[in-house]
Symmetry: C2
Subunit: 171 residues, 2 copies
């Protein structure tokens, strides 16, 4: 499969070239590929306001992918994703890959792997949970309990958060 940052081929019309047709190379920044179709807008929210941050964003939604059927891609020109952004990305798009691009070349590849333990990122949805009632003495801790779909379980009360709840907390 052609990567989202490979050189476009002319006159080609095979499956994954649809990506090439719609989004071209960026000189510097981050290419977030293999986002599940429909999740690109949640990924955008991670990046903040493009105008305020002085970044340019290109996005394609619902393009063909040999691996995933359909997928979304987000390219950010002028921003290299921070480790914290990549961690949050992993929760929204657990199969995403991040390529860091400098001078049109991929200089680093980072897979968005959902961490086994999450500290202080998610909030328990059980109103009686100690992490809700006594935030200072019992800071939020979640353990991964499923990967596809993604699920995390509260260390204190055992309440499980579904993928939808996880995304809505981060969005």
């Amino acid at each position: 499969m052609m990567s989202a940052q490979s050189t476009p081929r002319k006159g080609s019309a095979s499956g994954d070239d649809q990506t090439q047709m719609l989004v071209r190379k960026i000189p510097d920044g981050s290419v977030i590929d293999h986002i599940a179709s429909g999740k690109a807008l949640s990924v955008l929210r991670l990046l903040g306001d493009p105008e305020q941050n002085g970044i340019t964003i290109a996005m394609v939604m619902n393009v063909s992918s040999s691996k995933m059927g359909k997928k979304d891609i987000v390219k950010v020109e002028g921003m290299e994703l921070s480790p914290e952004q990549i961690q949050r990305l992993a929760l929204i798009a657990p199969r995403a890959s991040v390529n860091i691009v400098r001078s049109y070349k991929v200089v680093a590849k980072r897979n968005a792997v959902p961490p086994r333990i999450l500290r202080g990122i998610l909030s328990c949805t059980a109103p009686t949970c100690v992490s809700v009632r006594e935030k200072d003495s019992a800071p939020s801790i979640f353990f991964i309990s499923g990967r596809s779909p993604l699920r995390y379980r509260c260390k204190y009360c055992g309440r499980e958060l579904a993928e939808k709840e996880i995304i809505s907390q981060l969005g």
Copy 2:
């Protein structure tokens, strides 16, 4: 200025080429250009769910424009905007232009001009307005009262809707 659907030039680095760098030509569909920076996500909502509608969307946010400083562009592959979608677009992005593309060629250009009169599209925000209390006998009618920023005034009670309120009602 190069249009968003013109042929990419190689090795060029002038201002508006940033657009070319990020988004390439589409074979069939609609190119919505000259969207005020930050409004692309509101435009996306007009188009519905790409997966459900079987369309592919490419979008760039915050690219340089000689006319507008910064702008957003949305390309929709596989959908020609309906007159009703273009009318709604005009309310979200009053300076937007729509190019209808078939076989890589622009076959029609439609400017998104906010209509002078809007019937049944906006809702008055004055709780005592007759169009709110008696919807059946007094259907919503608004007259344009400003173009930049966009404003519409209720025919019945004179309440004016600001651009932000107009967009939030359509989003």
